[in-house]
Symmetry: C2
Subunit: 336 residues, 2 copies
C-alpha cells in the first residue's frame, strides 16, 4: 500500500513511525542499536506497508519472470512429464522454473514472493483455504494442475477430461467382449479419480453390464496398490476378465500380479491404464491406456501462471484438455 503507486520508502515508514530515517534503516539492516519496542513498531509498519529492500526490487522489475512449481511426494513420471511441458513453455516465454516440494514454513508465500517468484504452479497438491489466503496476501497467483478438489472459482486450475477417459477405456473393453470389468482406482476423494470411475460406471450401465461392489476398488496411485488390488480381484468367486486402472503405475502392478499367478496379459486378463506416461510404452506388454496430454497441460498451466503474474485475468478459472484412448498390447478379447 505505497501512497500513490510509488514504492514504499524508508522515509514513508519513518514518518508513519515518528522516527528518523536513520533508525528505520538500522531496523531494516538488523543493526543492534535500536530499542526493542522501537524496532518492533518499525518492523510492524515495514510489514504493513510491504516495504521491499532495494536489493530485492529486481524481483518486480525484471523481464524474465520466475515461476515456482511445487509438488508433493516423489518426482514420478506423471510429474516429470508435466514438468517438461512447463519447462518447454517457460523456455519459449523466457521464464525460469524453480522446483520444490510442498513445505509450508510460517511465511512460505511471502518468502517466495520476496525471493522473486511471480506465480506458483502446484502439481496435484492439496490447497486449503489457509494456503490460499497466505498466497493472496503475498500477492502470488496460483495455478493448480490436476486439482484434487472440485474446480473452485477462486483457484485457477488445469485438468483433463477424466470422465470421458473412463468412458472410452471401459467402452474399449466392452467392445472387445468383456463383461466382468473391474475398476482399480486411486484415492476415493480425489476428483480426478471420481470422474474416471463415473465414466467407467456410465459405460457399464449403458451396456447393462453388472458392477458388483467388489469390482470397484479405490486405493493409492501406486504399483503396490495394483499388486494387492489384483490379488483381491482374482480371489473373487467370479474374477474379472479385464481391469481398468486409475493410472499407469497401478496397471503395472496388475500386470505383475497376473504374471505371478501364471496369468498372461492380455490373453487371460486385459489391462487398461491411465495417463500414458513413459511407463505405459515401456511395459511388457505395452499398455493400452488413456492418454492425458501432460505436456500440453503443463504448458497451459505455465501460460496461465504468466498471465496472472502479469496482472491479466485467465480466460477461465478452469480448463480441461482432452484425453484419448491409446490402444497397445495389454487388451484383447476375453478367454484368449
Amino acid at each position: 500500500m505505497p501512497p500513490n503507486g510509488r514504492r514504499t520508502t524508508l522515509a514513508d515508514i519513518a514518518q508513519a513511525a515518528g522516527v528518523s530515517v536513520a533508525t528505520v534503516s538500522k531496523v531494516v539492516n538488523g543493526r543492534g542499536e535500536v530499542a526493542p519496542h522501537t524496532r518492533a513498531r518499525v518492523q510492524e509498519l515495514l510489514h504493513q506497508h510491504d516495504y521491499l529492500a532495494p536489493v530485492f526490487r529486481h524481483t518486480e522489475a525484471v523481464g524474465s519472470p520466475t515461476i515456482e512449481v511445487q509438488f508433493q511426494g516423489g518426482l514420478k513420471s506423471y510429474v516429470a512429464e508435466t514438468l517438461e511441458g512447463i519447462m518447454d513453455s517457460a523456455a519459449e516465454a523466457g521464464a525460469s522454473v524453480v522446483i520444490s516440494k510442498v513445505c509450508r514454513a510460517p511465511h512460505w508465500a511471502r518468502d517466495l514472493a520476496s525471493a522473486g517468484r511471480r506465480a506458483v504452479i502446484a502439481v496435484t497438491s492439496v490447497y486449503t483455504a489457509t494456503h490460499l489466503r497466505e498466497l493472496a496476501r503475498a500477492g502470488l497467483p496460483l495455478v493448480v494442475l490436476d486439482p484434487l478438489h472440485l474446480p473452485d472459482s477462486r483457484v485457477n486450475s488445469v485438468g483433463a477430461t477424466n470422465f470421458a477417459g473412463g468412458l472410452a477405456a471401459t467402452r474399449h473393453l466392452l467392445s472387445l467382449g468383456h463383461r466382468r470389468i473391474a475398476y482399480l482406482g486411486g484415492p476415493g476423494m480425489a476428483v480426478c479419480n471420481q470422474a474416471r470411475m463415473h465414466g467407467y460406471r456410465a459405460a457399464m450401465e449403458a451396456e447393462g453390464a453388472p458392477v458388483p461392489d467388489a469390482c470397484v476398488r479405490p486405493g493409492e496411485f501406486t504399483y503396490e496398490a495394483g499388486l494387492l488390488g489384483t490379488a483381491a480381484l482374482l480371489d473373487l468367486e467370479e474374477p474379472p476378465t479385464a481391469v481398468f486402472t486409475g493410472n499407469d503405475e497401478i496397471a503395472l502392478g496388475v500386470i505383475e500380479a497376473a504374471r505371478v499367478r501364471g496369468l498372461r496379459v492380455p490373453e487371460d486378463l486385459s489391462v487398461v491404464g491411465f495417463d500414458d506416461t513413459h511407463l505405459a510404452q515401456m511395459a511388457s506388454p505395452p499398455l493400452t491406456t488413456v492418454r492425458q496430454p501432460l505436456r500440453e497441460m503443463g504448458a497451459a498451466a505455465l501460460r496461465t501462471a504468466l498471465r496472472l503474474a502479469n496482472g491479466e485475468k485467465a480466460e477461465s478459472h478452469h480448463i480441461e484438455l482432452a484425453t484419448e484412448l491409446v490402444v497397445r498390447a495389454s487388451t484383447a478379447p476375453p478367454g484368449g
Copy 2:
C-alpha cells in the same frame, strides 16, 4: 575487476571513458540521447569492468543461492531421481533449484550469472572446452553428474562405480550358471558405458567364459534399443541365456522382446538392468539391477556446487559413489 574489492560504479566507468556519470547512466538505461560511438565505448567498458546494475546486485549478496540444473533430452527416471536428491539437499541448505534444458544462446553463461545463478549442475551432458570457457568467464562453477567424458581435473564431477557394477552384475549371472551372457549397452563413447562393459568383460574373462563379438552391442540408453538389440541376439546361432544391459530402460526392452518371442523371463532368459530407477521395481518381472545411488549422487553434486559457489574448493574434482547389485525376479539359473 573493480579497483580494490569495491563494486564497479558508474563513476569508475565515467572516469575510464572520460565522460560524465550522467552519460554512463543513460547508456546503462538505454536512453536515446547518446552518440553511437560514445555509447559503444561506454558499453565496452561496462562489460570489461563487469558492471552490475543495482537491481541485479541481490544476485551476489543474497543468502539463499540459486543453482541451475541443466539436462539434455527428456526428463527420464534417471534424471528425475537425481533431481530429487538435488532438491532435498537444496531444501536443507536453503538453496533454490532452477531447471532447464541445455540450450546455448550466445551469452548463456553470463545470462545465467546475471539472473542470479551461483553454480550449474549438468546431468549427463556433454561439455566442450568452449562451454567451460564461457562458464569460467561468467564466474560460474560447474558440477557434472554422471560425466560422459573421463574425469578431467578442470571439471568437478560426481559419478558411480560403474566398473564394479558391471562386475557384480556379471558375476551374479555367472554364479547362477550362465555362460553365454550378452552385454547390451549404451553409447560406445560414454565412459559410464565403457566402465560397465569392462566390468562385464573382466568378470567373463576371470571365469574363462567366451565373449563373442556379437554378444557385446553398444547402442542407445532406450527401450527401443533393448527391443532391437534383443531381437538380434536371439537370432544368433547360439543365443545368450542372459543379458546384462546398460540401463533399466534397455532391460525393459529386453523383457518385452522376449515376451514377443514367447520366451519367459527369467526361466528362458535372465535380464539384469542398471540404475535401479523406479522402472526396475515396477517391471514385470521386477528387475534384478545394479543400483546407482541417484539421490545421494544428486545430493553430493548439490553440496559441491554450493561449496564452489562459496569460493571454497571441492575436496576432490571427482567423486564416485558405490553401486550395489539388487537381486529381484528377472534372473534365474539357465534352462529353467
